[in-house]
Assembly symmetry: C2
Homo-oligomer: 294 residues x 2
């Protein structure tokens, strides 16, 4: 082994014993990741961002942090001996004035990375990930540290998709793959072999809720339960910062919208709180299926 | 001239003096078409469909008609000497049970054609157009009888798109052209070179309203007015039954959503009530631009 290999090995060892810094935005995902890390025996230190993080991180070493004070976040992570940083959850897009170029602190990286997670600007995300690493940290994604949170191939839970649902899944996956190069969204809803909703900036939950409205207005007459929400990553998506997710909320809104189930790319979509997600789907008679990546 | 040419010529002459049958669904489009026909000196007979047509057709010879009584609609059109039929406006998708195959009356054609105008099933629309013609009528579209209602190339009204808006228009048209083969929608919204909303079954108005919600929630931070709604026909769209439209309502919701303007394919998108549409855009400081078809 050469000197470079030795250095890398020592770095990896060192990284594994240091707590992972989890920068937590809104929703269940950051909490679910913290729990998965603990289950693996991995230490975690949570920086719960004010006005974003909306779950209780009292079970974990944590600090409440303001997005406007990136230098103090950086200091906290240094004090805790963190080397790996994982950013998860929802963040509001900051005003342009927040994205000041100040490489001496975290200002550019955190404010901009967090803010820009909504939307398709993957090249910017990639560039900003580089800025974080230039600060002496390593940006990691769920695949690096909690790969078990990704959907597996096959049926999750007790309900299997019908033949009609499998046809909808086929059309949905085919269409999303063709849309991949267009840098729009990563999810759509197909009902009766017709694409009735496409996600862009509104997010998956809002897109599914639209189908409930379409049914109520008579624009979507297929009797519920019918239709499938299909979700996969975009090609080249910055997967440390913007992985597609489903979870309990997805199942709840899909059940209200009368969908027959959810189909996600195995290994490409995170399942938040898999136990609750599966239980809710079973109770609603909905399927959740992981289809193979192409 | 051969015998076939003579017959065709005589048919064309006969058609031009007979009133056009306008099957009117919801919204401003059917009324706007009736007014455009009158302006051209062309007679029109309106069959205003119950629970759909929501404008006052008292200025025109008309009948209120139930979608469930297609035989009586057919008889009224025969009594009026109609040969050409134009179907316009919004219709709710009928229940599957309404689409009974009964070729002796209009049952199959009207109920199914009208109901299926929501959504992308162009092959079905084309097939049903054939059924109408098999009944001895000719199905015509706006392009055949009121071509002046289509958007022209260039700027409509007093406001011109900025350089940033032109960039958004460029991305929007490019993306819609690539999406054409996917049979999804015919419109999207681009803000700051980012696609923030894509239309599927919900319709253009609902899609634009979503951008208002995105701005309110902070997911879309670009200061208004900014962003463009871009709309064009899908390739192979059955243009007698499903033409893309903008009109006063489109301008109203776009102004509320803080968009800078609307961009539509010249010759491919109908402008309902062009005078009001232009006036409202001028008052809101919004541009409306017709871009050339590729």
């Amino acid at each position: 082994m050469g000197a470079g290999g030795e250095v890398a090995e020592r770095q990896a060892e060192a990284a594994a014993v240091r707590p992972i810094a989890l920068i937590a935005g809104s929703g269940d995902l950051p909490l679910s990741i913290a729990q998965a890390l603990r289950k693996r025996g991995r230490a975690v230190f949570v920086a719960a961002i004010e006005e974003e993080a909306d779950r209780d991180y009292g079970d974990f070493p944590h600090v409440r942090a303001r997005i406007g004070a990136p230098a103090s976040i950086k200091q906290a992570l240094v004090d805790q001996g963190c080397f790996e940083i994982l950013i998860a959850g929802g963040f509001h897009r900051p005003k342009f004035s927040d994205i000041a170029l100040n490489l001496d602190t975290f200002r550019v990286s955190l404010a901009a990375v967090m803010g820009l997670r909504f939307g398709g600007d993957d090249s910017l995300l990639t560039r900003l990930a580089g800025v974080i690493e230039a600060q002496g940290f390593r940006l990691v994604g769920p695949r690096d540290v909690v790969p078990e949170m990704f959907a597996e191939k096959g049926v999750l839970g007790n309900t299997r998709p019908s033949r009609r649902a499998r046809e909808d899944i086929g059309l949905g996956t085919e269409t999303l793959r063709k849309m991949g190069e267009l840098d729009i969204g990563q999810a759509l809803v197909v009902v009766g072999r017709r694409i009735v909703a496409v996600e862009a900036a509104e997010g998956t939950t809002a897109m599914i809720e639209r189908c409930e409205a379409l049914r109520a207005s008579g624009r979507l007459r297929a009797a519920p339960p019918s239709g499938v929400m299909v979700k996969m990553p975009k090609p080249g998506q910055e997967e440390r910062l913007d992985m597609p997710v489903i979870g309990p909320d997805t199942v709840r809104v899909a059940a209200r919208a009368g969908l027959a189930g959810l189909a996600v790319e195995a290994g490409g979509v995170l399942v938040v709180d898999q136990a609750t997600t599966t239980r809710l789907a079973d109770e609603a008679g909905m399927f959740i299926v992981g289809f193979p990546a192409q």
